[in-house]
């Protein structure tokens, strides 16, 4: 290509006069690239103008764009007219979201692949080479910049006037603290306020009244309400007891079978918790001592209690000792008895700390 022979010496050539009327637009583009140290070494149209291939590609791209239009219109129509309110069963509303997704997806993919095909197939292939220029600055430049900065330090004279530096630091340090103070001061909260980490909703009331065990709807529980081999999630019968306000209080009340109850009683006695059970009933904290999930997968035959979060397993008949998994501490046991009216009450609060371990847990 004779017109391009003069471009083949990239270094040390004269810049073109871009106002030369004989230059094509591409010549100017190429000149611009050269001025950015870019050599367009390969630039090759992929389709011959007016060829069959070009017409086919044009049609393909146009089809994709039109498909986008159709899909987007369908999206709008579905958005407006499709029944979308939730109804029980298998009605048309269940297809609302999928249909929106499909139409929106097709619309976006249509435009995406249209543009991609346009750029990939219809535009000329090119290979350009650009110099990186990632050499460090010249030693002279480095020195100049360095000296300039040191010069600034000289002029400020911190070395000669140390008091300025010291007083500046002394003055700024408290300012830094001032920035942090409202944030820290506002957020900080004493974890041991009201001894909250070591008490639960089962703590007897001020007047010494024992707290009842209640169900999720607030009903107190009689021994007959729990089947043998059954479990019941119970809460402290206080205001807000069945709520996240007392997130450490949910307790699992289990009615053991006779032989298991004997084992459990024996284990209790070994631990000095001889009077924690009432009859064949035991109550253990539902909050896992590992990470705080509700450990509540009770296997009534094996008397294992599994926590679904990290698979710690506790043996109920052995003071809920962990027998597998990452938990290291038995579930705390709630001492229970039955009050005069025949309802379960907590004899006292838990005697061990509920929930995940922490540094200062005694």
């Amino acid at each position: 290509m004779s017109t391009h022979t003069e471009h083949q010496a990239p270094q040390g050539r004269e810049p073109l006069d871009v106002n030369d009327p004989r230059l094509s637009r591409f010549d100017i583009v190429q000149e611009g690239a050269r001025r950015d140290d870019i050599e367009i070494v390969h630039y090759e149209p992929q389709v011959v103008p007016g060829s069959k291939a070009e017409r086919r590609l044009t049609r393909t791209v146009a089809t994709m764009f039109l498909l986008t239009g159709v899909a987007a219109t369908a999206f709008l129509a579905i958005y407006i007219w499709w029944p979308w309110n939730w109804e029980a069963g298998r009605g048309g509303d269940k297809y609302y979201t999928p249909l929106l997704g499909v139409t929106l997806g097709i619309a976006l993919l249509g435009i995406g692949f249209g543009i991609l095909t346009w750029g990939k197939k219809l535009l000329p292939k090119e290979v350009s080479i650009q110099d990186r220029h990632d050499q460090p600055g010249s030693p002279a430049d480095r020195r100049i910049t360095g000296e300039t900065m040191l010069y600034m330090a000289d002029e400020l004279g911190v070395k000669r006037r140390p008091l300025l530096g010291i007083s500046l630091l002394a003055g700024l340090a408290p300012v830094g603290a001032v920035v942090a103070a409202p944030l820290v001061g506002g957020l900080i909260s004493n974890p041991h306020k009201n001894n909250q980490m070591f008490t639960t909703g089962f703590k007897p009331a001020e007047d010494g009244k024992r707290i009842r065990l209640v169900r999720e709807d607030g009903r107190p529980i009689r021994p007959a309400d729990v089947s043998v081999g059954g479990q019941l999630t119970v809460f402290p019968g206080i205001d807000g007891g069945v709520s996240n306000k007392h997130a450490d209080s949910p307790t699992l009340l289990i009615h053991l079978r006779e032989d298991d109850a004997q084992k459990s009683r024996a284990a209790n006695e070994r631990k000095g918790h001889g009077d924690y059970m009432w009859g064949n009933y035991v109550a253990f904290s539902k909050i896992c001592t590992h990470a705080g999930c509700p450990a509540s997968l009770y296997e009534q035959q094996t008397n294992r209690l599994l926590c679904p979060c990290h698979q710690s397993q506790f043996l109920i008949t052995d003071n809920a000792m962990p027998v597998f998994g990452p938990a290291n501490r038995p579930l705390p046991q709630l001492p229970i008895e039955v009050d005069e009216e025949g309802f379960f009450v907590a004899r006292s609060d838990y005697t061990e700390t509920i929930g995940p371990d922490f540094w200062e847990r005694p």
Partner: protein, 543 residues
């Protein structure tokens, strides 16, 4: 009155002139439009993350219009009958409303969640690409660190967002997070109490997470992503070795028009895939989980996939507690090691890796050319080790689901994970290392002896040999083809791959074609290649 004739054709030029008069953009814009980007499919992985982040911003803004970050108790009265009359937090109720009572709200929620998963997945895949090709080496260590930070900030963004609906599953996750914070020695209970505003769960955590999720973390992400892209721009992209490609140049396409078009198209494709997934695949059906209640849990409680490795490490950790018998006694619970110490080590190792490798190899040069993983067996093997470590942890994070669906004992799964965590990574190291060496060897053999043709020839002395197709012409002296040097790029291993490789510049295995063969358009005449490019090979291996 006669108006001056309006010349529409001159308008763009006039406007452009006026803009340049005021802002002097012509020169910098030319530089930008002319910037050259190398082209390889693996360079597009990071873009998936970038584009899903944009989708996250778009859908996220929509969600904020309807979401109420409050833990005040309300009684649900929306369309979804199976929850009507249930007391719940305002946050959960508004998330339900977003799903059932805001037209098109559910697809926005699902797209947001899928985009978040895709964001994290693309970050990881992109990070693997950068690692295994050595793109993190000097001068790009800073960008590697920024990228690693992006994973962790994205992790926080994901976790805070996951917690916002305040449903049963996310509340359980939040409970575990509070347990993790509590496990930090000395300050744990104070930090937890300060974050939750008292004892877990308190009444403020959702609004704190909300502002973190919609302002602080996205702000940080935008800043980090800008720095990440800015550095890619400044330092220019790495490229694969190949003909004409050196450590000092970039070979590829100019930003305008083709590269920009491809990027724009790819954004639409990413957006489209997220839209399809958001519509077709249900994600996080919060209405089944119910409101968060401290006593409610579901079997198979898992976090999103990018948190699962932490859940896995927690499950595998033996119950080792450290008691310090001073005063009333102090404890470091077993939860501390897999959830605080392990991520700390991972952050440290991953950010420091470029420096560790440079130190070990005493390599402080600039590297703009990528390496094929097989050419650096030690690094590739270390990477395989890290990946297998991560995969064992992630699988263990879902070990109850695996145990249940494949009828394996849960306890056996835990033990398999514990043993696997110690055994699999060294094995991965060893086998990867051997595989890399084997691949290297094969490359060298092909370069020296040619491609296996599958044709068996019987020699006069009765031996059978396979005919190899040399990659270079046989020179006359001894009938052997001279061996080619390995240049760090793909070597054809099959006959039908000869010439089909298509390196960026023709001329790798066959001479540069005369442009006359190519169709010529008057506007865009083909350009002659640089004359100084030397021709490598010819003849036999030519198509």
């Amino acid at each position: 009155m006669k108006r001056r004739k309006f010349d529409a054709a001159a308008l763009p030029a006039k406007t452009a002139g006026a803009v340049d008069d005021r802002f002097q953009v012509a020169t910098p814009l030319r530089k930008l439009l002319n910037k050259v980007f190398p082209d390889h499919w693996s360079f597009l992985l990071g873009e998936i993350a970038l584009f899903s982040f944009i989708v996250l911003l778009l859908t996220g803004v929509f969600l904020t219009f309807f979401y109420e970050p409050a833990m005040t108790e309300v009684v649900y009265d929306g369309s979804y009958a199976p929850l009507r009359g249930t007391p719940m937090s305002a946050a959960y109720a508004s998330s339900l409303d977003l799903s059932f009572d805001v037209r098109g709200g559910l697809i926005m929620r699902q797209m947001h969640h899928w985009a978040a998963l895709l964001f994290m997945a693309a970050i990881v895949v992109h990070m693997l690409r950068v690692f295994f090709t050595g793109a993190f080496r000097k001068p790009r260590e800073t960008n590697w660190i920024i990228g690693s930070l992006l994973f962790w900030v994205g992790f926080l963004a994901g976790f805070t967002g996951y917690s916002l609906p305040d449903d049963g599953l996310s509340g359980t996750g939040l409970r575990i997070a509070s347990g993790i914070i509590l496990s930090i020695p000395v300050i744990g209970s104070w930090v937890s109490s300060s974050i939750f505003g008292g004892e877990f769960p308190g009444t403020i955590i959702i609004s704190r997470f909300f502002i973190a999720h919609v302002l602080l973390i996205p702000g940080l992400l935008v800043a980090l992503i800008s720095a990440h892209l800015g550095l890619v721009f400044k330092q220019k992209h790495t490229q694969w070795p190949g003909p004409g490609r050196t450590n000092e140049n970039v070979v590829g396409e100019r930003m305008f028009p083709r590269y920009a078009l491809k990027q724009g198209g790819f954004f639409m494709v990413v957006f489209g895939v997220i839209a399809l997934m958001g519509g077709l695949f249900q994600i996080n059906p919060i209405w089944y989980f119910g409101p968060y209640e401290a006593w409610v849990v579901s079997a198979a409680s898992q976090p999103d996939w990018y948190v699962m490795f932490l859940d896995g490490s927690t499950r595998l950790m033996p119950a080792w507690e450290i008691s310090i018998p001073i005063g009333d006694g102090y404890v470091i619970p077993p939860l501390f090691w897999p959830t605080v110490v392990l991520p700390g080590i991972l952050v440290g190792l991953s950010t420091m890796y470029p420096f560790l490798e440079a130190r070990r190899l005493k390599d402080y040069k600039h590297h703009n050319l990528l390496q094929r993983p097989r050419d650096v067996p030690a690094r590739t093997a270390v990477g395989a080790m890290a990946v297998s470590f991560y995969i064992v942890l992630t699988l263990s994070g879902g070990n109850d689901v695996i145990a249940d669906k494949f009828h394996i004992s849960l306890n056996a799964m835990t033990w398999a994970g514990r043993i696997g965590l110690l055994v699999v990574p060294p094995l991965a190291y060893y086998f990867t290392y051997r595989i890399c060496l084997g691949l290297q060897q094969h490359d060298r053999e092909v370069l020296a002896h040619g491609v296996e043709t599958g044709i068996i020839k019987r020699l006069p002395d009765g031996r059978f040999v396979e005919v190899h197709q040399p990659l270079t012409p046989v020179d006359g002296h001894d009938g052997h083809a001279p061996a080619l040097d390995y240049v760090g790029w793909v070597v054809p291993k099959k006959m039908n791959r000869l010439g089909a490789l298509g390196p960026a510049i023709r001329g790798f295995f066959y001479p540069i074609e005369k442009p006359a063969e190519a169709p010529v358009s008057p506007g865009h005449p083909p350009v002659e290649p640089r004359p100084e490019r030397e021709e490598i090979g010819s003849g036999e291996s030519r198509r």
